[in-house]
């Protein structure tokens, strides 16, 4: 089984909401100081999905990350977890892309890799929350796709995928090669072991520039965008919470009930 996983470096989505800042003059997010970026959580789970398949039936896992200022210790986490190879699409021209230009570059890199049975993506990247790149890659490469997967079983050249829906899940069979996007219902991604980290540290990522994947710099990143960002801003939260007190927690509870009754909320 040859498996490709697309994993993106993002600002830690679970950093305290109060640390989140936007610079309105540049329409950009100011990375919170002292908080390290991470691999987008759903992408870690995509790596986990790949590792589970390789554990069961062997194969090779190649991870691709596209971006600029990729911190080696961050983007190498999939290697530390056990992936075999890391390709970085790292070049200034890849910066500031949208779903289109990102999917296009990743699809061209996957095409260059050539041999694959499954491409895994996260259901959405935890920065722009678009949830488009997986479907975009599938469409560009002409692959069938299943999105929001929580379990993947491979038999006889087909994948049986449990796809999460609003009220449960459906079991979908898809022929391979296919693109599958992974959701958190898959279960927690494994933590790197010390041995895994040692092995990963020794591996050097392969770096590809636009020319390496046969595209012009004008087709990727900001230049290849199809959408324009007009404005980025933070919603204002009113923040006037009335704290209900009492001599004891039980009394506070009673006071809260009375208050809600008085306000005709219950």
């Amino acid at each position: 089984m040859n498996i490709i996983v697309c994993a993106k470096q993002v600002i830690d989505p679970e950093a305290p909401p109060a640390s989140f800042k936007v610079d309105p003059s540049s329409n950009k997010v100011v990375p919170p100081p002292g908080v390290s970026p991470v691999i987008s959580p759903f992408d870690e789970q995509a790596v986990e999905a790949a590792l589970r398949i390789r554990d069961a039936q062997g194969g090779k896992i190649t991870v691709i990350s596209l971006g600029v200022n990729l911190l080696r210790d961050v983007v190498k986490k999939p290697l530390y977890m056990g992936a075999d190879e890391l390709i970085l699409l790292e070049d200034e021209s890849f910066a500031e892309g949208d779903s289109w230009s990102t999917a296009y570059a990743l699809a061209m890199a996957i095409k260059k890799i050539g041999e694959y049975d499954i491409v895994f993506c996260g259901r959405q990247a935890a920065d722009w929350d678009a949830g488009q790149v997986g479907s975009g890659i599938a469409e560009i490469l002409g692959l069938p796709g299943v999105t929001v997967a929580k379990k993947i079983d491979i038999t006889d050249g087909k994948a049986r995928v449990e796809r999460v829906t609003a009220d449960g899940y459906e079991v979908v069979e898809v022929s391979l090669p296919a693109l599958i996007t992974v959701s958190n219902e898959l279960g927690e991604a494994r933590s790197p072991t010390l041995k895994g980290i040692m092995a990963g540290k020794k591996k050097e990522p392969v770096i590809w520039k636009p020319a390496d994947i046969g595209v012009e710099a004008s087709q990727v990143g900001a230049a290849g965008r199809r959408t324009g960002l007009l404005k980025l801003f933070q919603p204002v939260r009113e923040g006037k919470c009335e704290i209900i007190e009492g001599a004891s927690p039980e009394e506070a509870a009673v006071n809260l009930a009375l208050k809600l009754r008085e306000a005709k909320i219950i």
Binding site: P17, D167, N184, L229, L230, I243, P249, L260
Partner: protein, 332 residues
């Protein structure tokens, strides 16, 4: 070459009826179409959907396209994208709106790439720029920490809209409109997936997304047993139980109970958040609630920034007394 014109709504069908999201989108689409001085059309795709077009017209559509075919019984990416590609190429709408639902999340991006255009996912506001006549697409980004307004010069402009972000019109059965059938013409061999089974994981009682009261628990509830206390309070208030992601991941509650960015969107009259911190990704799913009550032992918890009433205590000490008092107040 024909020009892209008008607004098109992809109307989901649920258990043989127009889904709530469909009427919400028609309400929003009507405003956009009026702002452009153009037509609003609806698309219905499925099997046994004939007759539903009238409902779409009553809810605001001027025209309905129906694609009825046994092969369209289940949503499948390949069949639905192919059919929608055909509909869009025939009707040439300038704007196409879908719901941010299990279907919309899958269909919209794939269709956008097929049609060589762009999509904006999970929008909470749509407007027409008075000068450029472009669609201004405002969506939440960074887990709800920020909002971003996007435009695109591509046609059609595709957007998905979050549940409950738009208001439906009052249905008017006297509204007139045209229903046009489009043939699916699907090649079954081009459908590369097969739905083998659908497994419902429904939470018993009132549906979370319809409940007027939601009692939600977080990681601090600690275990499945703790959620029984929340169920008792929900029962007394005739509401439903929801959760943040950790209780779902830990299997204390079914995944279908998750509220938030990647879960359900709820807008009850009363939302009681117990032992949850109020992460942006969670608030995305509940901040539209009329009244928000928070019980958390940490006074710095983010949930207090959006709550109207709060208690800073261990929930285990607060909840039994609160439930008892509510019972008494509602009983008498």
């Amino acid at each position: 070459m024909a020009e892209y014109k008008g607004v098109m709504i992809y109307c989901e069908v649920n258990e043989g009826k127009l889904a709530a999201i469909a009427t919400e989108l028609l309400g929003c689409g009507r405003k956009l179409a009026d702002a452009l001085g153009q037509e609003l059309c609806a698309v219905l795709v499925g099997s046994n959907i004939t007759g539903l077009g009238k409902g779409a017209i009553a809810s605001g559509a001027d025209k309905v396209y129906e694609v009825n075919d046994p092969l369209l019984k289940d949503y499948q990416t390949d069949s639905y994208v192919t059919v929608m590609e055909k509909v869009v190429k025939q009707a040439m709408p300038q704007i196409l709106i879908l719901g941010q639902t299990s279907i919309g999340r899958d269909l919209a991006p794939r269709l956008a790439f097929r049609l060589d255009t762009a999509a904006a996912m999970d929008c909470i506001a749509l407007a027409i720029d008075p000068d450029s006549k472009q669609l201004l697409q405002t969506r939440s980004v960074y887990g709800g920490n920020a909002l971003a307004t996007f435009t695109s010069a591509c046609s059609p402009q595709i957007a998905t809209v979050r549940a409950k972000a738009m208001s439906p019109l009052k249905p008017d059965a006297s509204r007139q409109g045209e229903v046009i059938a489009i043939k699916a013409d699907l090649d079954p061999s081009a459908i590369r997936t097969k739905v083998l089974e659908k497994v419902p994981e429904e939470v018993a009682g009132i549906k979370l997304e319809d409940a007027e009261v939601v009692v939600a628990g977080g990681r601090g509830i600690g275990n499945a047993d703790g959620f029984k206390q929340l169920q008792e309070l929900a029962r007394v208030l005739k509401g439903a139980v929801g959760a943040t992601r950790p209780p779902c991941d830990n299997e204390w509650v079914p995944d279908a109970a998750q509220i938030g960015l990647t879960g359900k969107i709820v807008t009850p009259d009363l939302y009681i958040g117990v032992a949850l911190s109020g992460a942006s990704q969670h608030l995305t799913g509940c901040s539209g609630s009329k009244s928000i009550v928070a019980i958390n032992k940490d006074p710095e918890a983010n949930i207090f920034k959006v709550a109207h009433f709060g208690i800073v205590e261990d929930w285990k000490k607060v909840l039994p007394a609160f439930t008892e008092k509510v019972k008494e107040l509602l009983g008498g």
